[in-house]
Symmetry: C2
Subunit: 204 residues, 2 copies
């Protein structure tokens, strides 16, 4: 893992057969797939990861000391750059932010893995804390900023409760994405949710 960095820093290549980068990727991919399919850390076994990756158990244990470390690295590999916001209208920025919570296919896998690990309370507090700090909170803060801007520009009512609105928008997308038995959401789901929330349910 850190080997790549050391070599890039100029250290000589160590003797012997080099580790297979292909195996690295196959192991991480198999781990993520199993996290998603089995619905959590408990469903992932090293033997299943090895079989799925087409790799010996030895190859896994040479890279990671135990299952937990492997899962930490697998989760870390899910980090993605935040979506770019056009910044033209609050409505468009809200759509862009909520879309990444599980509407598109790649996001669905990412979000699904997240919830399969953290959706059960505090089974893995350390993992959860890291992920919340590094991934979840920054995005929440961006959304808060968009909503604040909307209030300032007059695009949004001045009396809305920002955190409440975040639960409303994020909850709709996340709940829809996590619900089992309803299939993936339509492509324009985020747009429809945002527009419905902006407009309100009562006639005007």
């Amino acid at each position: 893992m850190s080997e790549t960095i050391e070599r890039a820093a100029g250290a000589a290549r160590p003797p012997g057969r080099p580790r297979s980068e292909r195996a690295d990727k196959a192991i991480i991919d198999a781990t993520l797939a199993l996290l998603l399919e089995e619905g959590g850390v408990a469903g992932v076994t090293i033997e299943a990861v090895a079989a799925r990756a087409g790799v010996g158990k030895t190859t896994i244990y040479r890279r990671w000391p135990n299952k937990e470390a492997l899962i930490i690295d697998a989760l870390a590999s899910l980090k993605e750059p935040d979506p770019e916001l056009a910044g033209v209208s609050v409505r468009d920025d809200l759509v862009a932010l909520t879309r990444t919570l599980g509407v598109e296919k790649r996001d669905r896998q990412r979000v699904g893995v997240f919830w399969s690990v953290f959706g059960h309370g505090d089974r893995h507090p350390e993992l959860h804390g890291r992920f919340t700090r590094d991934v979840v909170e920054p995005r929440r803060e961006r959304m808060r900023a968009v909503l604040r801007r909307g209030i300032e520009t007059g695009e949004l009512r001045p009396d809305i409760d920002i955190d409440l609105v975040m639960w409303l928008l994020m909850g709709a997308i996340v709940h829809r994405a996590r619900a089992y038995g309803v299939g993936p959401a339509p492509d324009d789901f985020a747009e429809q949710i945002v527009d419905t929330a902006l407009r309100g349910l009562t006639p005007r």
Copy 2:
């Protein structure tokens, strides 16, 4: 289990020491507590249930043939009568319906157990199907009816997408209730969600 019914129907009491009703309740309670704490079926072990209920494993296996049957009965014990709807205003009925999704303490335990079991996809399709049919869908249908009534009476816009609105309202409550690390929602959370959704986010 069915023994109580049979005796009530007039059959003679069977010979020997009667089964302890207290043990019945302790076993079910321990199972629910573990489902919630351990975050799913996988975290529940018969030995842990027995220890927590202050009961021998024998006593459990005399009542249920295996772990799955025990969990089925434990989940069945969660059924509750649907909330009564005043039927005066659509707003009040929506609040009453969404409140039961995890705002009050007793509902939180019930909803939490539900998600701990079914929140991971199709690990237990049969259980999920039963629960969806018997508990979830009837409530969803009641909410649909309330929304339809609101459109008819003019309390709601005629162009709203009913299913979309259900994702919005239910998602907000459920997501807030399931989120780990934020504590329970305030008592008036359902009211605030419903009112915010009704009013909309844009100035009028």
